[in-house]
Amino acid sequence: MLSRLADSLYWMSRYVERAENVARFIDVNSWLSLDLPTGYHEQWSPLISTTGDDALFAQHYDEPSKRNVTHFLTFDTRNPNSIFSAITAARENARLARQYITLEMWEQINRFYFVIQNGSRFAARGFDPSADFFSEVTTASHLFLGTLYATMSHNEGWHFCRLGRLIERADKTSRILDTKYYLLLPSVAAVGTPYDDIMWAAVLRSTSAFEMYRKRYQQISPDRIVEFLVLDREFPRAIHYCVTSAQESLHTITGSPVGTFANSAEQQMGRVCADLNYIQVREIINRGLHEFLDSVQVRLNLVGDAVHHSFFALQHVPAVPQYQSGRQA
């Protein structure tokens, strides 16, 4: 398929996924703050770190208050990762791919855009976005995903959508876990208190993993939570699930078998998967969760770059066939 089209589909998906993650994260944080005792310092600045836009935030706002952070992440068009910017970009990409995606998908992304636009209009009049708004965003994202699964052929373009979405999701899960873990672990005072439980539950809710986690492990325990969000093979937001499924799509696109690679995207993806396939949660904790998650994020970025170079950025002049050194043509 056309490179530019594949590029658009990939990013359309990534942006929708991004918006959903940001929405859920804000929502859970607001909800969490209601449970915390008076005087407990509300934590809003870590939210900015999950999209990696701390510098941009500092440029435009003086303090990381709930209101500022929420606005920055939701409606601020100066922030390329705000929900508004993400959905605008998703729609723009959908428009570029309009002849390829189904009418149902296009209608849904349009509806999604109007949800955000209405929310933004309310916000401009001084109303803070409500929990309803954020759940509308999450639902809109799920509906989009539903139309993608149910109306589009599971063809090459579909696999580019899936690839983009899963890379984005793996990245976001790792960032949410990273910031929360970093914040929660030192609070020794909270260990054994009801707040410990509540805050860890919030991590799970931020990744929509609470119910599934309960079914799997019942008891809330930090190690188990890390194991669930990083290594679970069945939970669709677990990093391991995301990368192995993304790998599947990548190999369906190229037709080369898993375990081999035909381009740098597959090679990079293979490395991420190999890392996660056999590692144990103890090892991750001992090595340092933050360091581990950081390396996952770096790897995922490399995968993203490699996808771009392997599929989207075809050069003007066909590459001269390259031979490995030492081999004669």
């Binding site: 089209l5 309009r98 002849q99 090459e156 075809l314 003007h316």
Partner: protein, 463 residues
């Protein structure tokens, strides 16, 4: 829809009765749900020069416009004749120029047309057909007859709205179709694809077709995506294409793939910076070389604009006579050519009664509607005409037919025109339908979407 005495025409009687039986509230509800549907489907239109409101819904009115079967039969014949003759004319102009040598049309007039492309002299498009997709603007005059207002032989747009309008009618107001004998229009994309296959370079059994668009910011992008989608062909921009080893190739996820037929929706000027405008970023450098070598087909061929110049238009009756030996079936609107001294004088003396048009503009730009103009505007046009008489024509202000339109809570008459679409591959195909454009401002005669026009579903009846 109505005769002069206010009674519904025979062809519209069933529709009239049905609407009358439905009740105003319900009609309004249908109208609203149609508008919501358009909004939800994001069928929007970008208005040039309007920064804030980049997207607008193309206004749609749910009362269909009816063309009776016998009227359509005439239109159909007339369009076939016209498109056939104009193609012969274009081919002649870029080769022997017999029609000029025989003195039927002044040579200077043709060679001075802005849309005459020197680079196209000697080109041989497949099967000698230059103009594969035509959208001819018709109007119905006060005398009840249809006239050709102008020919659009370059990149006529609007056909997607014909299909979309029908779709929306079916979804919002289905019962109105019962026993109405409306001819379907939904097969247009199949005919278009067939036409594009017909013109593929020789010997390619299943050619790769692509639709070349200027991109998402073009006002007709919706249509480009729509047609590409329903034909199942690639929608490409200039940056997706590259000329390699004498062929046009597109960049895909699996490497470069050859493109055999390009339905281009960008103007000649921007098609190939090496041949036409060097500053064009939209086209593909080297495209014309591949085209000349017969390794890619273009629809429409470059250079077709010479025949829809508004001055050449005045000569179409002679063109038809010259090439086909026939009289024109669909009449032209009487046209004064300012290039001619006598006619120019008449135009200048009667500016307040005439409609003046620039020869090479479209979309309702560069136009003076005399009866609605101010003295200042007329002064401006007088100056412009004298400065460049070749570039202006004038026509009497026509009593464009009016049809009922829903305005808030009641019906009002509004002026309309009709643009049918004609395809010319192996054979000529006339889509039984067309785009009915409505001047939504009361009394206005300008129906262009860029000037506040809307549209209606157009029903060509089969009996």
């Amino acid at each position: 829809m109505f005769n002069a005495d206010g009674k519904p025409r025979p062809s519209a009687r069933l529709l009239f009765e049905r609407i009358a039986s439905v009740g105003d509230d319900e009609i309004r509800r249908y109208q609203q749900s149609a508008e919501q549907l358009l909004f939800r489907m994001g069928i929007t239109f970008n208005v040039y020069g309007d920064e804030a409101g980049t997207e607008k819904i193309f206004p749609f009115d749910i009362i269909p416009r009816i063309v009776a079967a016998d009227e359509w039969a005439q239109i159909d014949l007339g369009l076939r004749q016209r498109v056939h003759a104009l193609n012969l004319f274009i081919d002649d102009i870029y080769h022997e120029q017999r029609i000029l040598k025989d003195g039927v049309i002044p040579t200077d007039l043709v060679l001075s047309a802005k849309s005459f492309r020197r680079a196209c002299i000697g080109l041989r498009p497949p099967k000698g057909t230059w103009c594969h997709i035509t959208g001819t603007d018709l109007i119905r005059h006060g005398d009840g007859k249809f006239y050709v207002l102008e020919d659009n032989l370059r990149c006529p747009s609007g056909v997607s709205y014909v299909l979309q309008n029908r779709e929306i009618m079916k979804r919002t107001f289905p019962q109105i179709f019962d026993h109405s004998n409306v001819r379907p229009v939904g097969d247009y994309p199949s005919h278009l694809l067939e036409t594009l296959h017909d013109i593929a370079p020789m010997g390619i059994p299943s050619p790769t077709v692509a639709l070349l668009t200027p991109g998402i910011y073009n006002s007709a992008y919706f249509e480009h995506a729509f047609l590409a989608k329903f034909m199942g062909v690639e929608l490409v921009e200039g940056r997706d294409l590259v000329v390699m080893n004498g062929y046009v190739m597109m960049r895909t996820t699996k490497g470069f793939e050859r493109v055999d037929v390009i339905y281009r929706r960008i103007d000649d000027d921007f098609l190939d910076p090496l041949t036409f405008r060097p500053d064009s970023m939209l086209g593909l450098p080297g495209l014309m070389d591949v085209y000349r070598a017969g390794r890619v087909a273009l629809a429409n061929a470059p250079g077709t604009g010479v025949a829809d110049d508004k001055v050449i238009y005045a000569y179409v009756p002679k063109i038809i006579k010259y090439y086909l030996g026939e009289d024109q079936i669909l009449p032209n609107v009487p046209t004064y050519v300012c290039w001619d001294d006598n006619e120019r004088q008449y135009v200048l003396d009667n500016l307040d009664k005439l409609v003046v048009k620039a020869a090479n503009e479209s979309g309702g730009y560069g136009m003076l509607v005399g009866p609605h103009s101010t003295a200042e505007q007329r002064e401006k046009f007088k100056y412009a005409i004298n400065a460049d008489p070749r570039n202006y024509i004038a026509q009497p202000t026509l009593a464009l037919s009016r049809v009922p339109v829903i305005v808030e809570d009641h019906f009002e008459g509004r002026h309309v025109d009709l643009r049918p679409y004609v395809l010319y591959g192996k054979d000529i195909f006339v889509l039984p339908g067309g785009l009915t454009r409505v001047a939504l401002r009361k009394g206005s005669l300008v129906v262009n979407s860029s000037q506040g026009g809307g549209s209606k579903d157009t029903w060509v009846l089969s009996c």
